[in-house]
Amino acid sequence: MRGLRVLERILSTIPIVFGVAVIVFCVMRFTPGDPIDVMMGREGHVSQEQIDALRREFGLDKPIHVQLYMFLSRAVRGDLGNSLTKHRPVSALIRERLPATVELALGALVFSLVLAIPIGVISAVRQYSFVDRASMAAAFFGISMPAFWLGIISIIVFSVRLGILPSYGRLPYGLEPARVTGLYVLDSVLTGNVSSLVAALRHLLLPSVTLGAPMAAIVARVMRSSMLEVLRQDYVMLARAKGLTEWAVITRHALVNALIPTVTVVGVQTGVLLGGNMIVETIFSWPGIGRLAVDAIFNRDYPLVQGVVMVYALTFVLANLAVDILYTYINPKINL
């Protein structure tokens, strides 16, 4: 029953992904600037014949709807075309870079949840206490702070001044663990490689914190307010009347209920995480798809931009799907 509903929900994402593909394609074509100009600009003087030849090669001479059709029909087969500037298949470039981005996003997610959920709970339980006021002030700060600023400040403090954390890349050259998933932390654990595990975690720390800070701030605030709401409920009073300790009342009876709205917010905030990702990868020279996207946009590398944006869109859709499914497990009243 639930399996069928989940499948239905998964299938319903297909038109969304399709729509995103069309929009991405159109937006790219209507942005001023021409990829061939950008390519040629680097190579000095070129003749009109050379330009026309390149246009033909990349299919840019065809009418726009034909280009769209070609893009979509190839994309369905997993072929996102060739990068105009890197001269390699877009899908290969993405596959190469995706694990770095996934690792960073997971790092940010773990950081923000591990920090924000306990803070939200404590702030609610000790409403108006020093801890509550201090963490809500910090959360306000976290929401209003731009990622590039936080990233640069943390590099200055922890890498330049204190010199205790790396500010560049995923690992020092040569320390990469044997590839299993491409996520260095996970691969180090799986292959029992302690030195690369430590190094990978150290490299991951500053970018994860920078990327996860706004999410942590929002989750802490949502968690606090939903917890305050839940603590007023009759079932919390019943839990106390049963003779449970306050710890059990909060962690068993209140927490699950308070997590319900938080899960929704985390799903939505995944979009914010994706947006911040380009900036953070650029600041920390993180070799993920965010930097790939930034380069591609500056170079008007249409196929590459399209490919990367498709990945973003897909991630967003999948994150929301995951949240919806998770939701049915913690909220018995919802059946998708």
Partner: protein, 321 residues
């Protein structure tokens, strides 16, 4: 068994302290059913919560004592109070829908109350606990408990939810049941069934019940003793039949006159005029004075206290001092 003496519970607010319960005294014997009756907002729920020391902050118990089986709950350590909650004294709340935790299965919520007080007294297996829960569910009249066990609260009707809550309360065989308007949120027919269930629990298990209601008619059918509350204080107390037949306090009289079933034929129903007074800044003078049809000039001048008029009856009114 339960002896409340001069209990006062306050809620500080911006406009001043709200005395939700003031100088409440009440005692309850083993196996008895005591009705605590009064209009809504007069402090009935706060009285019950005070007994279990569950009054939510910023509310607090200012003074008094609550002796349960000889020991003062108000001077116990928090851990000791927890040992009493749910074990010796259990509570049934007013609104069953919001009192069951929506994310847990009903059977497991009943099982939890068994578990809480089993720590240290030998190990019982999950299966044994489930068996106990099923028999509890049967006892409180939940049909096909095997399948009901695994359902969520929203899949239960209001009456079934209240039965589940009664099962939760009965799990540890409490000596005293605090029932806070357990039938107010239910349909009339279901109401009667729940009352009948509570009455059976009282006679079969010998559980004493402190039964809160705003409905004097319900109290008169169901309780052995009755305490009438007004604005945080007890105004009249006594055996139920005598209080109904011969109310002493003008407020009790007024309440009786406003209940159709208890009014003698062809007498007119007459609601009490006016509203419950603000609980802020009440003095120890009579708080019913402004609505009373037997008001005297003295009422506004002199404090009144609960006086023993014999035969187990008490009343707080200048007429009897």
């Amino acid at each position: 068994m339960l002896r409340i003496h001069n209990l006062t519970t306050e809620f500080p607010t911006r406009r001043g302290a709200v005395r939700a319960v003031e100088e409440m005294s009440l005692s309850l014997q083993r196996g008895q059913i005591m009705g605590l009756v009064g209009e809504s907002g007069c402090g009935k729920s706060v009285t019950l919560l005070s007994i279990l020391r569950l009054v939510a902050r910023p509310g607090r118990i200012i003074s008094g004592s609550i002796h349960f089986e000889g020991r003062d709950i108000l001077s116990m350590a928090p851990a000791e109070v927890r040992r009493i909650r749910g074990a010796d004294i259990a509570m049934v709340f007013q609104d069953p829908l919001t009192t069951l935790n929506p994310v847990f299965r009903v059977g497991e919520q009943i099982r939890e109350s068994l578990r809480v007080h089993r720590i240290g007294t030998g190990r019982t297996s999950r299966r044994e606990e489930r068996e106990t829960v099923l028999s509890l569910m049967k006892e409180v009249g939940i049909p096909s408990p095997e399948s009901r066990y695994w359902q969520y609260p929203h899949e239960f009707s209001g009456g079934m939810q209240q039965r589940a809550l009664i099962a939760i309360a009965l799990a540890c065989r409490p000596k005293l049941l605090l029932a806070d308007e357990p039938t107010t949120a239910l349909d009339v027919t279901i109401q009667a069934q729940i009352l009948e269930l509570l009455s059976r629990i009282n006679s079969e298990r010998g559980t004493a019940i402190l039964f809160v209601t705003h409905d004097l008619a319900v109290a008169s059918e169901f309780c052995h003793w009755i305490s009438v509350m007004y604005a945080g204080r007890i105004v009249e107390q006594g055996p139920v039949d005598e209080v109904i037949a011969d109310p002493l306090h003008p407020y009790t009289e007024g309440l009786l006159r406003s209940i159709p079933r208890l009014v003698k034929p062809r007498r007119r129903l007459s609601p009490i005029p006016g509203d419950v007074p603000d609980l802020i800044g009440l003095t120890n003078r009579c708080s019913f004075e402004s609505r009373c049809d037997r008001r005297m000039p003295e009422c506004a001048e002199r404090p009144v206290s609960l006086v023993d008029v014999g035969g187990g009856r008490h009343v707080r009114c200048i007429l009897y001092e």
